[in-house]
């Protein structure tokens, strides 16, 4: 405990004594974390936008023309029981024609030429959001199209797969960039602490000869590294908050919907930034101090 207090004092002295190089290190760590957290926020926003769009995703099941009402009801029951399907909407031949008329507008009169309704009745199905992956949807569609009385199943296959690809690219990018930046933070702190360690080499040698334990020798450096990480984390958390607020306020003048659309990084994310900075810097200083041999 006293060792900890003394190490804190020593670390504080060193932080102040080497304030410029420390400031530089803190800023580097802070900028790294800011880039990382900004990218994560963008990914979060894109992902949530994708999810919102995906909500409207539906699958249309066209039925055989000569299906009886009883058979249609049977199918409906089947769909309602399927846990993967969260919405079932029946569209009768008549409704389909009405909708077509509305779409055609003035040209609707061509429909009058026909003596029989050519449109099939159909079901519009909504799938669970977790299932909105191209291969899963495809399998489901095939499964449904094999049912008796089903003529054809249609859904926006291309659209779904490109949304999915975009989301995957962004997430993969975030992970790679994240790892690269975290490694960079470890390295930046390692470098600074290594410099301090070399500058105090003689002193450390003396401490060893006077009977100082490894903890006694290491602790000030670890505390200093921890300080760098936390300070860098706090700086980037504040900066991220500032940038986010600015975009959502100023951006609202141009695009009023922005505030409803944008997803704010959760409180947990801000904490994660600081913790990540602290953990990486601590790791860096741990490596920098290395093994102490007597």
């Amino acid at each position: 405990m006293r060792t900890l207090i003394y190490a804190l004092q020593t670390a504080m002295k060193s932080i102040w004594h080497e304030k410029w190089i420390n400031l530089l290190t803190v800023l580097s760590v802070g900028i790294g974390l800011l880039i990382l957290s900004s990218f994560a926020t963008v990914t979060l926003n894109v992902d949530s936008a994708l999810k919102r769009w995906a909500k409207g995703f539906g699958m249309v099941v066209y039925l055989d023309g000569d299906l009886t009402g009883k058979a249609e009801n049977e199918l409906k029951r089947l769909f309602l029981q399927d846990p993967d399907i969260i919405g079932v909407k029946y569209i009768s031949k008549e409704q389909a024609v009405r909708e077509l008329r509305r779409t055609l507008g003035e040209n609707a009169s061509i429909l009058d030429e026909l003596d029989e309704n050519p449109l099939p009745s159909s079901f519009e199905l909504k799938l669970k959001r977790e299932l909105l992956k191209p291969d899963v949807v495809k399998k489901k569609a095939e499964q449904i199209s094999r049912l008796k009385g089903v003529e054809e199943v249609q859904y926006g296959e291309k659209w779904l797969s490109s949304l999915n690809t975009l989301s995957t690219i962004l997430k993969t990018g975030a992970v790679f960039l994240g790892c690269a930046i975290l490694v960079a933070i470890v390295f930046i702190t390692y470098n600074t602490i290594k410099i301090f360690f070399y500058r105090r080499k003689d002193e450390i040698e003396t401490l060893k000869l006077l009977g100082a334990t490894r903890t006694f020798i290491r602790l000030p450096f670890l505390i200093e590294g921890l300080f760098i990480g936390i300070a860098g984390g706090l700086i980037s958390a504040v900066a991220l908050f500032g940038i986010h607020s600015m975009i959502s306020f100023k951006g609202a003048d141009i695009l009023p919907a922005i505030r409803a659309l944008m997803v704010a990084p959760p409180m947990r994310a801000y904490m994660a930034i600081v913790i990540a900075g602290a953990a990486m810097s601590l790791t860096g200083s741990f490596i920098a101090v290395g093994r102490i041999r007597y």
Partner: protein, 220 residues
Amino acid sequence: MIQFSGVSKYYDGDAVLKDISFTIEKGELAYITGPSGVGKTTLLKLIYCAERPDGGQIIVAGWDVGKLKQGTIPFLRRNVGIVFQDFRLLFNKTVFDNIALALRIHDMQPREIKETVNNVLKDIRLKHKEHVFPQHLSGGEQQRIVIARAMVSRPTVLLADEPTGNLDMDTSRNIMSLFREINARGTTVLIATHNNALFHGTGRRVLYLSNTHIEKEAVG
């Protein structure tokens, strides 16, 4: 308190110490002497585990020094105060903090540290220099601070390497009386020196080191 049995030490294949055996009893004040380069410093380093023996056994205050694990070495050193030939004072710390450091390493309470260091500063008559940095002190004053740092934690053994290195006669006498005081309080003291005048007429045991072995033992 210090026991060497058949100890050898080689540097790059050349023997510096070969099959050395001797014992320093608890409470003794003894000298080890010999010409420069004979291996006095090496012998002291073996005692506080800064060098490892290539053969034989060294027991210091009950520790088998040659077999100590890395993690245990600090605990041996806390029992051994060392007056280094090159002082090893920290120039970015005041006189007070240099001495206090030894106690901080021992995990002593701050209040107790203050009291103990102040007492030691009075003992070496340097109380008025407590806030000075060591580089502004004379050689004799620096030497006294090194001694103060070595003894402040009340080690069971005190080692001194050429403690009067390049000091004048008066200052040397002054320093030597400090060692006698420390010894009188029960600490075992071993002083390495090439200067015969230091032990001449003291009536203390002197080990003469010559060409890798202890040539003779006599009373100074």
